[in-house]
């Protein structure tokens, strides 16, 4: 009876499975096939084996784009996770209009990225932008922001952080809500300060949520596109060209789809490797935590 019942759910899944096969699995299989071919749009593909992959390490633009991506990603994980955790601790309190304020707070991540990128571009304007005016109010010299190779990535990270801190906040807030109240009550009796309560009770308990938030942030930051494309297009020069931006150029400016497909495969492997590294990091810190508290 059970054995007969179970397969009968297949009709529910079949339509979605067809769609997933068509728009997710097929592109993946096709990408791997294309990556083994020399193929520019408009000319027939020729099989070249792993030549596209062998070409990658000597492509300085690609190698540099990896560096840009890693710097951009590291900053775009650390800053939102730190600020988002702080915001979650604040939002964990009870206060009037909490829902409304939380709604305002999450607006940056729901807003259309291109629309906000446009406004940030105006704000970054060296002469007329509001950011340099704000700096002048606190006595700081004007900056070139996204118009200078040295400051372009930090400036873009500023936008990314502004945009995605709310997501970290929501995830960590979920973690804080799941903590039972007893440890806090006994800490209060023992006269622990606010910082001590956070450091020794909340933080270890929300660590798994910080980890999830960091992982999601890494995955999103590493493939960030809209903000960078709309504000700098990878410039000035190629100073903010991440792998994703370079991939766009290879695929849809040069139409070198074979080579672009090889970049896709390596890019995906890099994301999986970074996720694996984060997982390892979690296991080792977990071990340290256990040792520290013992």
């Amino acid at each position: 009876m059970r054995g007969w019942q179970r397969p009968s759910y297949w009709p529910f899944i079949a339509p979605a499975l067809t769609v997933v096969l068509a728009v997710i699995i097929f592109p993946w299989a096709y990408t791997i096939w294309m990556s083994l071919h020399e193929w520019k749009v408009g000319s027939p593909p020729t099989f070249v084996g792993l030549a596209n992959y062998i070409r990658l390490p000597s492509d300085t633009r690609f190698v540099e784009s990896i560096g840009h991506t890693l710097v951009y990603t590291a900053l775009s994980v650390v800053l939102p996770v730190a600020l988002g955790t702080f915001a979650a601790v604040v939002f964990h309190n009870k206060f009037p209009m909490r829902g409304f304020l939380r709604g305002l707070f999450i607006m940056p991540m729901m807003a259309t990225p291109v629309a906000i990128a446009l406004v940030w571009t105006m704000m970054f304007h060296p002469q007329l932008g509001i950011l340099n005016y704000l700096l002048s109010l606190v006595g700081l010299p004007p900056q070139l922001w996204v118009f200078h190779p040295a400051t372009v990535i930090p400036s873009l990270v500023l936008v990314e952080t502004w945009q995605w801190t709310p997501l970290v906040m929501l995830i960590v807030l979920g973690g804080l809500a799941a903590i039972p109240t007893e440890p806090y009550e006994s800490a209060q009796i023992d006269g622990a300060t606010r910082w001590q309560t956070f450091r020794y009770i909340s933080l270890p308990l929300i660590m798994p949520f910080l980890f999830i938030a960091g992982m999601i942030r890494m995955i999103d930051a590493v493939k960030s596109f809209d903000i960078i494309f709309a504000i700098t297009q990878g410039g000035p020069g190629t100073a903010s060209e991440t792998i994703n931006l370079y991939l766009y150029s290879v695929a849809f400016v040069y139409y070198d789809v074979g080579y672009a497909s090889a970049i896709v495969v390596v890019f995906f492997a890099l994301i999986v490797a970074l996720a694996g590294a984060l997982l390892r990091l979690r296991q080792t810190t977990h071990w340290n935590d256990a040792g520290g508290s013992a």
């Binding site: 979605a16 997710i24 607006m107 259309t112 906000i116 446009l118 809209d226 672009a260 890019f267 994301i271």
Partner: protein, 275 residues
């Protein structure tokens, strides 16, 4: 003494809230300010926050431009079709996967979540070219499924896993078939979950930019692509540009404020994002 401490604590909380919420609020207020000013105010230094004369003409200029209604309709059709179709196939799939306890299926969703949106574009672009679909809205509708279908399936699996089985079992004993149980027992209970999936799918499809810049032609642009293309034409007229940006994102912002409870529930459950 403890009363004073409590008061200080509340003042500190209020201050912390102000610090946290103001970057978001001030940004959108500045966006609004840019969009209602004449160029002379937008180009003045120090900046003008609330102008003496409002220029609502910026909005009129955007709304009355003959192409705006086309792009708005394109966005509406692409997001509407991609979301509707995703619900049609995704809600039953979420139900089936939850009941089969097919947790391994989540790996496909995970891969979809990790893969950069651009990587779908190359093979599907070639496919659409070969099928002769470029120049119509079909390529964008189909590729937006990459965003909407995983969101819907992911949220619905989570939702159906938490709904009670007892009702379904008693319906089965009463002689209802699987389809009837889904239609008349499971689906009505899952309505809040469907609302969450719908809202998130709409937002991430509406916001999508990367698919449009590659697949959209002059007549088939969605609003985000149209706004982006305005930059090159109106490099120095910030007013209309900010007005256009605000018009594009306004539906999403309103949805966020009115449905923030559902959005928060959906994002914390699945932590999904498209693209």
């Amino acid at each position: 003494m403890s009363r004073l401490r409590e008061l200080l604590g509340q003042a500190g909380l209020a201050f912390a809230l102000l610090v946290i919420v103001s970057p978001a609020v001030l940004f959108f207020l500045w966006m609004l300010s840019l969009s209602v000013k004449f160029e002379i105010d937008n180009a003045s230094y120090p900046p003008v926050f609330i102008p003496e004369h409002f220029n609502w003409g910026n909005y009129a200029a955007v709304l009355s431009s003959n192409r705006f209604s086309t792009y708005f309709m394109n966005s509406l059709i692409v997001t509407g079709a991609a979301t509707g179709f995703a619900l049609l196939v995704g809600v039953p799939a979420g139900y089936g996967l939850a009941r089969m306890r097919a947790h391994k299926a989540a790996i496909v969703i995970l891969i979809a979540r990790i893969t950069p949106g651009l990587s779908y574009l190359i093979p599907l672009f070639l496919l659409f070219q070969w099928l002769g679909l470029l120049g119509t809205l079909w390529p964008q509708i189909i590729i937006h499924l990459v965003v909407t279908v995983p969101i819907v399936i992911w949220i619905m699996i989570g939702y159906f896993e938490t709904t009670p089985m007892e009702l379904e079992e008693s319906a089965l004993i009463d002689g209802a078939n699987r389809w009837q149980i889904f239609r008349y027992v499971a689906l009505p209970i899952a309505r809040p979950g469907i609302a969450v999936a719908f809202i998130l799918a709409v937002i991430f499809s509406w916001n999508n930019f990367v698919f449009g810049i590659v697949l959209a032609g002059r007549e088939t642009r969605t609003l985000p692509v149209a706004v982006y293309n305005m930059i090159s034409f109106d490099q120095l007229s910030w007013g209309p540009l900010a007005a256009a940006a605000l018009i594009v994102t306004l539906p999403v912002l309103l949805l966020t404020m009115f449905a923030q409870r559902q959005i928060v529930a959906g994002l914390t459950a699945g932590a999904v994002k498209g693209g």
